[in-house]
């Protein structure tokens, strides 16, 4: 890991980003302002270099969608073994997989000789494509939601596509014991926000334990700060547990108030319905199993605490996120039925993230935990296949087990495995073609399909770069001209 990367780690990792750095790792905490500004500029510079070909593909492909046959590929189905053969895509779905697949009339044929076809990568923890990540002002921010602020113009979407990712769980940050609502998206670059949402995926909510929720709003601990701003409760791990318990006590009372009202209404008694509370509604959904809990955590003790609290209130933790000490309590995690979404080998960016080992994913897998690897970073997101490969060295997972960590396992964690995560007939045609085996770190993404539509094509991207440069130069020159012509008259200047 490069030192610069490390410096970014805490901010990136925690999801505790300032307003200026809603994109991960791009306005790190300790970089001086000027340098930050430069980074920002460079970021936008890179943005112009990467394709800005808004919806060109989608526009042309949406007009008519003939079937597509991808031929002669090594197909890593993940759930049904590996074979050499073809995949037929029809109406956005995988229609046929086999060594020999007949080419229907009018089908577009893609020759993938020597290349590798795998299911689109799924990232169970991402903060791209949103205009804000943290509502850090309150300890329970469940009234806010990522869906309200999805930003389809975020270039990180395109770059993640270039890393073979097709689906991502966009999470609220970790500044709150109970954070905001989360949304699963498909990376349909060029589409509007609403069209990126993974329809049919259950909505989620972010919880967070440990240092982030107890430090957020407490720059000086629990003391009164310089501006006489009282520290935000909680300031300890005990407090985090208390905040979660109190919130669910409130949620149960709220749930009951609606039940009482419904009964009254059923009896025909006049009554005003309870006030709708946007903070408590998502928690009631959690209690009713209609919303998945994704909980940011590190230490074994806090993990056990959360599982106990969930058992007490009768809901499930769907995934433990980061969960770097998960290997210590894997049996308990498996018993609760929680999934674990962790890093391959990223840790030590703060005290609570020290007791970590690269064997975490493999050890939890062996104890029967459903494990995935996630990015939590727009950069890491572009090579999750590499991250998966590391588990073969550390813990001896098989090829298929390793690839499962970024495909079918996160799909199961997000309860969308009936749609994505493997190459099977009937599933969505979310596919990635690599030029080499995806578990090799020499592998590059050639093409990415979502719902059978081509959203990334390496060759086209390279071919279009010079055209974009020319276009950019033209706009810059024109602006210079206009500026000369349109200098504002302003105040106090003589008027012709």
């Amino acid at each position: 890991m490069k030192p610069a990367f490390l410096a970014l780690a805490w901010r990136r990792h925690s999801g505790l980003r300032g307003r200026d750095s809603s994109r991960p790792g791009f306005a790190p905490a300790r970089v001086p302002a000027l340098q930050t500004e430069r980074l920002r500029h460079r970021y936008f510079e890179r943005l112009s270099n990467a394709a800005v070909f808004v919806g060109l593909f989608s526009a042309t492909l949406a007009a008519a969608t003939p079937p597509i046959v991808i031929q002669n590929a090594t197909i890593l189905t993940v759930t049904k073994g590996t074979l050499n053969g073809s995949v037929l895509i029809r109406d956005g779905k995988i229609a046929e997989v086999g060594e020999k697949v007949a080419v229907p009339a009018g089908a577009k044929v893609i020759d993938a000789s020597g290349q590798f076809l795998m299911p689109g990568i799924i990232d169970c923890h991402s903060h791209i494509a949103a205009d804000s990540i943290n509502e850090g002002s309150v300890s329970v921010s469940s009234m806010v939601g990522i869906e309200d602020v999805l930003n389809p113009d975020d270039i990180s979407i395109y770059r993640a596509l270039a890393g073979g990712v097709t689906t991502a769980n966009i999470l609220h940050g970790s500044a709150n014991s109970i954070g905001g609502k989360c949304t699963v998206i498909k990376l349909r670059w060029g589409k509007d926000a609403h069209d990126m949402i993974f329809q049919g995926a259950l909505p989620g909510i972010k919880f967070a334990l440990g240092e982030n929720p107890k430090r957020a709003g407490n720059p000086t601990g629990q003391r009164i700060g310089a501006g006489n701003v009282p520290g935000r409760y909680p300031a300890t791990r005990m407090g985090v547990e208390d905040v979660i318990r109190e919130a669910f006590n409130e949620a149960k009372a709220y749930q009951q108030s609606w039940k009482d009202y419904d009964q009254k209404a059923a009896r025909g008694e006049p009554a005003v319905p309870p006030r709708r509370d946007l903070k408590l509604e998502p928690l009631v959904e959690v209690l009713e199993g209609k919303r998945l809990v994704h909980a940011h955590c590190y230490r074994a003790d806090e993990i056990l605490m959360l599982l106990r609290v969930a058992d007490y209130y009768g809901f499930k933790i769907r995934t433990l996120q980061h969960v770097l000490e998960g290997y210590k309590v894997a049996k308990e995690i498996a018993a609760h039925g929680a999934g674990a979404s962790t890093f391959s080998d990223w840790w030590a960016y703060k005290m609570e993230a020290f007791d970590a080992i690269p064997y975490n994913a493999a050890l939890m897998t062996r104890k029967g935990v459903l494990v995935s690897l996630n990015s939590d970073s727009d950069e890491l997101m572009r090579h999750l296949n590499d991250e998966a490969a590391k588990t073969m060295k550390y813990g001896g997972l098989s090829e298929t087990e390793a690839i499962s960590l970024v495909t079918i396992n996160p799909a199961k964690q997000l309860m969308i495995d009936n749609r994505v995560g493997s190459i099977e007939v009937g599933k969505d045609a979310d596919l990635t073609i690599f030029d080499k085996h995806p578990l090799s770190n020499y592998a590059k993404v050639e093409k990415v399909f979502i719902d059978g539509q081509l959203y990334f094509d390496r060759a086209s991207d390279l071919a279009e770069r010079s055209g974009r440069e020319t276009e950019k130069k033209k706009l810059m020159d024109k602006e210079k001209e206009e500026q000369k012509k349109n200098a504002p008259a302003g105040r106090g200047r003589p008027v012709a």
């Binding site: 936008f44 943290n134 509502e135 810059m476 349109n486 012709a496």
Partner: protein, 455 residues
């Protein structure tokens, strides 16, 4: 002593304003907007209203006559979104600002007055950044120093709003001259002005993110709905029912028939149209520099846009060695084509000054839109009749027609041309001869030239 300058200027105004009788502008080219141009026509004003307009109008015997040869008469311009008339108010957000399309969802405003003394808000229930009960109709003052320079731009009317906070307050349609607050107000109830104000950092209270603001606005509308129900129920079951607590924040929201929301990018347009559709509220989107690439969304939603004439510009202090990305460049290049694209797409829109308070700058900004394909008559319409229609005052403002309020701009040359001179402005029939040079900024006055400040 402090009052002396005001008194003097009132007296100076009175010299022009003198005749209680009638004014006739004769033999001028008249652009009524409601119909075809009259090449040689006469407009008669009396008692603050338009008494007659046409080619064959007889000049009344008691009228003060203005020879209109070489002059053109237009309806007074209406600034569709402003703070004019409210002293000390910063200009409204232009939506674009100097940073072009750079996403600035959580731009931090100056701390609104109502927040500074209070402890940080702990959630929507504390009603952060909310003064929804404030009314521009109560706040406008003829003494606002900006009125003179604004009239010099050809504006006779402004739809003006308190503009600090998330629910900033209720707008009014005001004429930009008068002796008293009451005289200025044409109509109140122009709508509720909303900005996406956030607190800085995590310690400053709720909300500190764009999604927090949106959640807050949503909760307030749900609360308003519930409040209404509770009050209705109480009216029918007063005995035996605890009374609902009076909530002036919700009263202010319920009083507002429409809401004005800031929409900078296409995603903002998309997001806010869905949002207002979900909440069943009538909205006007303001700013809209990316309207040129959002026309389909606006059209499908039958939405109305208020387009800021303050086109996004390259930041003055930007590093020449670090050019902006292609999207930002594109927005700056294309923004001025927004009115033309909206007109072609059949989207209703009005233009607003975005705080531009100098005639030459305003005309240049309109000219850019015209150069980008907007028909000059559409530009004029978007600054006269359309805003009057949007705010429901087209029966009295926006065109030169008999019986309407006598608000006119008289120019030498076509409006919005570089060299065109604004000769006279009539507000409620009172004549003003604009002075191009605006009064010098008051020392110590807040620098109110930062559009987007209150986003």
């Amino acid at each position: 002593m402090k009052r002396l300058p005001i008194l003097l200027s009132l007296m100076a105004g009175a010299i022009f304003a003198a005749p209680p009788g009638a004014v006739a502008i004769r033999n001028a080219r008249v652009i009524p907007v409601s119909g075809p141009a009259i090449q040689k026509g006469t407009v008669v004003l009396r008692n603050g209203l338009i008494e007659a307009v046409g080619a064959d109008v007889t000049v009344p015997a008691d009228a003060w006559v203005i020879e209109g040869d070489g002059l053109t008469v237009y309806p007074g311009l209406i600034d569709a979104l402003s703070t004019f008339g409210i002293p000390e108010a910063a200009p409204p957000a232009s939506g674009g600002g100097a940073r072009g399309a750079t996403p600035q969802p959580a731009a931090t405003p100056a701390q609104p007055a109502n927040q500074s003394a209070n402890p940080p808000a702990r959630g929507p229930e504390d009603r952060p950044f909310t003064t929804s009960w404030l009314k521009a109709a109560d706040l406008v003052k003829p003494s606002d120093r900006r009125l003179e320079s604004v009239r010099a731009e050809g504006y006779t009317t402004a739809v003006t709003f308190p503009n600090r906070g998330i629910f900033a307050g209720q707008g009014a349609i005001v004429d930009l001259a008068g002796e008293t607050t009451g005289e200025m107000v044409v109509a109140e109830g122009a709508g509720q002005y909303v900005t996406f104000t956030t607190t800085p950092g995590f310690g400053g209270g709720f909300p500190n993110s764009l999604m927090g603001v949106l959640a807050y606005v949503r909760q307030v509308y749900l609360d308003a709905d519930h409040y209404k129900q509770a009050k209705q129920f109480y009216a029918g079951h007063s005995r035996g029912t605890p009374r609902p607590e009076f909530d002036r924040a919700l009263e202010g929201v319920l009083e507002s028939s429409r809401v004005l929301l800031p929409a900078t990018r296409r995603i903002d347009v998309d997001r806010l149209l869905r949002f207002t559709n979900e909440l069943h509220i009538e909205a006007l989107l303001y700013g809209v520099p990316e309207g040129y690439r959002s026309a389909d969304l606006l059209k499908n939603a039958a939405a109305t846009a208020l387009v800021s004439l303050k086109w996004p510009e390259k930041a003055k202090d930007s590093d020449p060695d670090e050019p902006d990305n292609i999207r930002v460049l594109e927005v700056r290049d294309h923004a001025a084509s927004t009115p033309a694209v909206l007109a072609r797409s059949g989207v209703r829109f009005a233009l607003y000054s975005g705080g531009i308070d100098h005639r030459a700058d305003l005309f240049k900004a309109v000219k850019r839109a015209i150069d980008a394909g907007l028909a000059p008559e559409d530009a004029l319409r978007a600054m006269t009749l359309t805003p009057a229609e949007i705010y429901g005052v087209a029966d009295r403002l926006g065109t030169i027609e008999k019986g309407k309020i006598a608000n006119l701009v008289v120019t030498k040359g076509d409006l919005f041309m570089d060299k065109t001179e604004v000769k006279y402005v009539f507000v409620d029939g009172v004549k003003f001869e604009p002075v191009e040079e605006p009064p010098p900024a008051r020392p110590g006055a807040p620098e109110a030239s930062n559009p987007g400040e209150n986003r």
